[in-house]
């Protein structure tokens, strides 16, 4: 009897242990699923508002000595599907030596982007080799990926609780790239606004837990019903430089279709965006 009793204890004990472990795993999974859902919501709000739109962007780069460089450009966007492929077009107004230069990106949610540069002085449409998305966007502290987005499914997500940033409650999530080769940072801590899910702050860390870059939404306005980040800052804590992006004349109404984002657009920029 004792033997059986001991056997039963072992069996029941193991089963309880197993259930506890499975339960805990499931809870963690649920947490991760929640985190991914929140990240997706945030990504959609930030990168896929409306079906597209445009804004005039002023970019100011400030180096560690306080010297500044400025770029001004129109940015046009058209989504093919939410959380899927997008078309981007950038038309440079300043500085003078790149004015009239156009930049076209066919962003493929899966796989490499297709990119073209239009050089007006040669009437040349130059295709640019698929770049790693971590490379700098026009020399600024922003990477291409920061401008056109990195899909949350490329990362593992871990809920880290809540924290108040400024005077607003944030959800804190750790994003770790599933494939380290797809990112030039080891992990990122995102602070998402609890109400509108915008990424109010992101901290990028290297493998040795050193802070590399900090992204902040400095100003959020409501445009046509969409919460819109109109001033954004990326600080490179290693270099001591930072870049501010200020968005004006933002709208989410667009007459442009995805097919309009072609060589024709590079050669004939829509004239409402060339001033």
């Amino acid at each position: 009897m004792n033997g059986i009793s001991n056997y039963a204890k072992v069996v029941f004990g193991s089963m309880i242990m197993a259930l506890l472990v499975i339960g805990a795993t499931m809870e963690a999974k649920a947490d991760d699923a929640d985190a991914l859902a929140i990240m997706n919501k945030s990504h959609k709000t930030y990168y896929y508002a409306g079906d597209g739109g445009h804004a005039k962007v002023m970019m100011v780069l400030t180096d560690k000595k306080g010297r500044t460089r400025e770029r001004e450009f129109w940015m046009l966007r058209r989504d093919i599907e939410d959380m899927g492929d997008q078309r981007y077009y950038t038309y440079f107004l300043k500085p003078a030596d790149v004015s009239r230069t156009g930049f076209l990106v066919h962003k493929n949610a899966e796989g490499n982007d297709n990119r073209w540069l239009y050089v007006p002085s040669l009437d040349l449409v130059k295709r640019i080799a698929a770049n790693d998305r971590g490379s700098s966007f026009v020399g600024s502290d922003f990477a291409y990926e920061d401008v056109s987005g990195r899909l949350p499914i490329m990362d593992n997500h871990e809920l880290m609780g809540e924290e108040v940033v400024g005077d607003r409650p944030m959800i804190k999530i750790k994003n770790t790239p599933k494939d380290p080769k797809t990112a030039d940072y080891a992990y990122r801590i995102s602070y998402l606004d609890k109400e509108n899910h915008l990424p109010m702050k992101e901290e990028y860390f290297d493998k040795k837990d050193r802070l590399e870059r900090v992204f902040e939404l400095v100003k959020v306005e409501t445009v046509e019903g969409y919460p819109t980040a109109t001033v954004r800052r990326m600080t490179n804590t290693k270099k001591g430089s930072f870049t501010d992006l200020s968005f004006t004349e933002t709208t989410y109404e667009t007459k442009l279709k995805a097919d309009d984002f072609s060589e024709r657009m590079l050669k004939n920029p829509p004239r409402e965006y060339t001033r």
């Binding site: 780069l61 180096d63 460089r69 400025e70 300043k94 500085p95 003078a96 030596d97 004015s99 009239r100 066919h106 490499n112 297709n114 050089v119 002085s121 040669l122 009437d123 040349l124 449409v125 295709r127 640019i128 080799a129 698929a130 770049n131 790693d132 971590g134 490379s135 700098s136 026009v138 020399g139 600024s140 030039d184 430089s241 097919d259 072609s262 060589e263 024709r264 004939n268 004239r271 060339t274 001033r275």
Partner: protein, 461 residues
């Protein structure tokens, strides 16, 4: 890529009549200058009129630039009469003014360079680089009319289907790459249907490549069979200005599965004077007729950007390939790969080939006409190019190295370049054009004593 200078070896005994209506290049240049001045004035008047009728302010911009190049090779061919060889292939001051105005159904654009070159006064001029009106007639058609720069094809400083004129003078004397294309007078029609675009560009007259025929550069004279000062090179005859001597450029292109495809056509003349003529009173080079047709494809291949392009050049005045005075028909093509690496590096390589058709006939005809045993052209001319580019300091500093290696010509050309944006407005650029080769008549070999370093400082506004 084409020869800036023909490398034919004519014999002294050879003669061929040419049509009597060919005008001399210098005369054509002065006609061009007059036409340019008229276009300049007319477009400004038109443009100013248009500017008053729109809401947004028209765009005015430009730059001021000093550009100097210094030859680092001793060049005996340029030392005429013991006066010393002229050491500066280019020493210029340039102001560019750009004006643009956009209306609802039209755009007006003008870009004019005011050039003063102390190294060669013949470069000092008002250069109307662009002056055109674009009409957005309908959803399915645009028209671009006037003086303009045009580029198509997939090569990086190699060309097969891009038969728009090139400026080799600018290319070898340290100008910005954007000066590789001289302007052309074109009526350009673009038709859109679904994802397919068709373009037709018509020019009322032929625009030849601009060759570095100057007293500051030496070149190979195929008649004398020796290297001479560019200014003393053979006479080059241009086709007369007549509608039948105009040029027709055509392209149809589209985009599918991340790849761009294109088909091309051309009717006009060999861009460099590869034909020879000799009459009782004169001898020189001219541009024989040329038809061309080709295709290209460009898109991603793994993590590389891949391009391939080919063209068939048909020489209608020498269809059989047995006239040694006129280039044979050819196949030209290239294939390239480019890759971006972390840290703002880009690397690329291309293989370019030129296959002469009817080579046996060319060989027989050439040897019969000129004697000897030596042929200036190989049946297959191969060139390999490489480019390495690196951006630093928030992309304000650019390092670039482009190289041609003439595999069959046994010559090479290196183009190292460093460019730094001191401020948003001021850019300093320095670089070199290094050329060498075993033979005096090949594309880069003929410039082997013309290697130069250059410096440019540009203020943009």
């Amino acid at each position: 890529m084409k020869y800036p200078i023909s490398s034919y070896k004519p014999a002294n005994t050879c003669s061929q009549d040419i049509s009597s209506g060919l005008a001399h290049q210098r005369m054509a240049n002065s006609i061009h200058a007059t036409v340019a001045a008229i276009i300049l004035i007319a477009t400004f008047i038109l443009g100013l009129g248009a500017m008053q009728s729109v809401d947004a302010a028209p765009y005015i911009g430009g730059f001021i630039e000093g550009a100097h190049s210094y030859r680092i090779d001793e060049n005996a061919a340029l030392d005429i009469g013991g006066a010393g060889d002229r050491a500066f292939p280019r020493s210029e001051f340039r102001t560019q003014l750009t004006a643009r105005d956009d209306m609802d159904k039209a755009s007006f654009f003008a870009r004019i360079d005011l050039v003063s070159d102390a190294a060669d006064e013949s470069r000092s001029k008002i250069d109307v680089r662009e002056a055109f009106i674009k009409l957005y007639l309908a959803n399915w058609v645009d028209v671009k009319f006037g003086r303009q720069v045009a580029t198509w094809g997939t090569g990086d400083l190699v060309f097969a289907n891009d038969l728009f004129a090139k400026d080799w003078d600018a290319f070898f004397t340290g100008m910005n790459d954007s000066y590789l294309k001289p302007p052309q007078d074109l009526l350009r029609l673009t038709f859109y249907r679904g994802g397919t675009t068709a373009e037709l560009a018509l020019s009322p007259h032929f625009t030849p490549d601009n060759l570095p025929l100057r007293s500051e550069l030496s070149t190979f004279d195929p008649f004398l069979q020796q290297t001479v000062s560019g200014a003393d090179g053979p006479m080059i005859e241009q086709p007369t200005h007549s509608l039948t001597n105009g040029e027709v450029f055509a392209r149809v292109f589209g985009y599918a599965r991340n790849f761009e495809w294109a088909l091309y056509g051309y009717k006009g003349f060999w861009p460099t004077p590869q034909g020879l003529f000799r009459t009782e009173t004169s001898a020189g080079l001219y541009h024989p007729k040329l038809y061309s047709t080709g295709a290209s494809l460009r898109g991603p291949l793994g993590s590389y950007l891949f391009n391939i392009e080919g063209a068939m050049y048909i020489s209608p005045d020498d269809e059989d390939g047995d006239n040694p005075m006129i280039p044979n028909s050819q196949l030209r093509g290239f294939v390239g790969l480019e890759k971006s690496l972390a840290g703002d590096w880009t690397i690329s390589a291309q293989y370019y080939g030129e296959q002469m058709l009817d080579y046996d006939k060319y060989e027989a005809a050439h040897l019969a006409a000129f004697g000897g045993t030596d042929l200036p052209y190989d049946e297959l001319r191969s060139t390999v190019t490489t480019r390495i580019t690196k951006f630093m300091l928030n992309q304000t500093l650019q390092l670039s190295l482009f190289g041609y290696l003439g595999v069959s010509d046994e010559d090479w050309h290196l183009r190292p370049m460093v460019s730094y944006k001191i401020t948003d407005a001021v850019t300093w650029t320095t670089g070199a054009n290094l050329m060498d080769g075993d033979k005096p008549h090949t594309m880069f070999g003929q410039f082997r004593d013309n290697s130069n370093v250059y410096m440019r400082l540009r203020y943009s506004f």
